[in-house]
């Protein structure tokens, strides 16, 4: 290892984990108004604060649901277990929901699953915001139920900005309250199906019926002939819902 690489390893350890401090301190000049350890401490505090602030910003509903102190404990534990490796800050929180699931005590009550579920929703909203959406699809347009019913060859596809979730809690009221900055009600424990979709660059969370969730799952990112994934007897119900789904950015005919 070169001297430069050794110095960088020592400084990284000192600034991220408080380890290897002696090696880093001995490499730092102590002249002036601050000792080497205090100077390294600026970087150490900055590292922790920067990553924590990123997670706080990306997991706003989770933070509102569990409270600021508990959230920070979760977030700092996650950062320690999953130190960043990507040059993009967007990737920092990618595994946060999995971390919350993995570290939940096995004998915990069902409510202990809530933070991970809400974190999945927060992450889905972030991913939907950045993904390619219907805004850039030239042929995307609204449709009506009559068009759906009278066009047996109708093809649809889901945009990359659609994220589907199956959660153990009804989180919609919590999302709405957190977005308004109001006190967040504790979500009820109930199986729920959710679509996070974007239209005109606005991301919204939609509650789905199980059959709607299954239909969207069946429609891939390639154009899918709708008749191929919908049973005949379901057709009128699908036709009446599809215009709203298209208008919400869950599907496109483009």
């Amino acid at each position: 290892m070169s001297e430069l690489a050794a110095l960088q390893s020592a400084m990284l350890a000192a600034c991220t984990a408080g380890e290897g401090v002696d090696a880093a301190v001995s490499a730092v000049r102590g002249a002036g108004r601050m000792a080497p350890q205090a100077r390294l401490g600026i970087y150490a505090r900055g590292y922790r604060a920067r990553l924590l602030e990123c997670l706080r910003g990306e997991y706003k509903v989770t933070r509102a649901v569990v409270g600021e102190q508990v959230f920070d404990l979760f977030a700092l534990g996650y950062i320690e277990a999953n130190p960043p490796r990507s040059p993009s800050m967007f990737d920092l929180g990618a595994r946060f929901a999995d971390y919350l699931d993995d570290t939940r005590p096995s004998d915990a009550d069902a409510i202990a699953r809530l933070p991970a579920d809400v974190a999945r929703l927060d992450r889905a909203r972030l991913e939907s915001r950045r993904a390619a959406g219907v805004e850039s699809i030239p042929g995307d347009r609204s449709i009506d139920a009559a068009t759906v019913l009278t066009n047996p060859e109708l093809r649809v596809r889901v945009p990359a900005s659609l994220v589907l979730l199956r959660l153990g809690f009804d989180v919609l009221a919590a999302v709405a309250a957190a977005d308004r900055g109001q006190p967040v009600p504790t979500p009820a424990a109930v199986d729920s199906y959710v679509a996070v979709a974007r239209r005109r660059y606005r991301v919204a969370v939609h509650a789905l019926a199980p059959w709607q969730y299954a239909l969207l799952l069946a429609c891939g990112s390639d154009a899918t002939r709708l008749r191929a994934v919908v049973a005949g007897e379901e057709w009128p119900v699908v036709a009446s819902w599809l215009p709203a789904a298209v208008d919400a950015g869950m599907l496109t005919t483009g």
């Binding site: 990284l12 100077r39 960043p84 950045r130």
Partner: protein, 270 residues
């Protein structure tokens, strides 16, 4: 090429920029944080494309890690190149720093030991990056809070020799000069006089926060009074280069940001 007076493109200003006619923006160009627009096909990318139709854009990165000892990140460089092909930026800049090692990153701009070994190491990587991108890159002096025992030359000499060796350009952040000089007891005027003026592509301005024993490069305040004479000196020595005002926390409304930028504009006109 003097781009004029610009500000950083930040999401809190997206709606304002879309609502106001470009003639009313009051800025000549925008600087983006390159990584924030990698793989973004959403609203941010949409706004960036609209802005680029109206103004020059400079891509300013924070994760190149030109001084790092891990191999250069090919995936990162590819994304940088793809974004550059989309935007045709006036300049591509980053920092004289390293951001991580052993596969980890800190998302910070960490200081380098100013040694002959390190200069050779950084120069080789600058050559590689410039060859890959097919263009000159611009490197900025970072704010620093530590100096290393092994350092054998001042930072301005390191930067000047790096520019001479690699033909890269320099981004002179006069606020960073002020912050580092304060933190290390150095003379900021001597720093700016030591930078080869013909290598300076543009200048950064920002406001630090005062933590008593040290200054932090927090980009959350107006430019402090002591920095303006350094800015004047930089403009005088370079013969006039583009100016970029950075503001990344407690960001004011866009018109207030432009008012702060206009302080620089007025100084250059007087």
């Amino acid at each position: 090429m003097n781009l004029g007076f610009g500000v950083g493109l930040r999401d809190v200003h997206f709606s304002y920029l879309l609502e106001q006619p470009p003639a009313a923006w009051g800025v000549d160009w925008f600087e983006i944080v390159s990584e924030n627009f990698f793989d973004d096909d959403g609203f941010a990318g949409h706004v960036l494309d609209r802005v680029r139709e109206e103004r020059a854009v400079v891509m300013h990165g924070v994760a190149l890690s030109i001084g790092g000892t891990d191999p250069l990140d090919c995936d990162y460089l590819n994304k940088l190149k793809v974004l550059a092909e989309r935007l045709d930026p006036a300049l591509i800049s980053d920092h004289l720093c390293w951001t991580g090692v052993d596969g980890r990153t800190t998302h910070d701009l960490l200081p380098l030991p100013l040694t002959e070994e390190c200069l050779d190491h950084v120069a080789a990587r600058v050559h590689t990056v410039q060859d890959f991108l097919g263009r000159q890159i611009v490197l900025e002096n970072p704010s620093t809070y530590v100096e290393f025992e092994v350092s054998a030359m001042p930072e301005w000499e390191f930067l000047g020799r790096l520019a001479e060796t690699t033909d890269c350009a320099l981004l002179l952040d006069v606020n960073n000069v002020y912050v580092s000089a304060y933190n290390h007891g150095l003379d900021p005027v001597a720093y700016i006089e030591g930078i080869p003026p013909e290598r300076v592509a543009y200048v950064h301005l920002a406001g630090p926060s005062d933590h008593g024993t040290f200054l932090l490069d927090s980009h959350d305040h107006p430019v402090v009074d002591d920095v303006w004479p350094l800015y004047d000196l930089a403009q005088e020595r370079t013969g006039g280069v583009a100016t970029l005002l950075e503001w990344d926390a407690d960001i004011p409304a866009f018109p207030d940001l432009v008012s702060e930028l206009d302080r620089a504009r007025v100084r250059c006109l007087s």
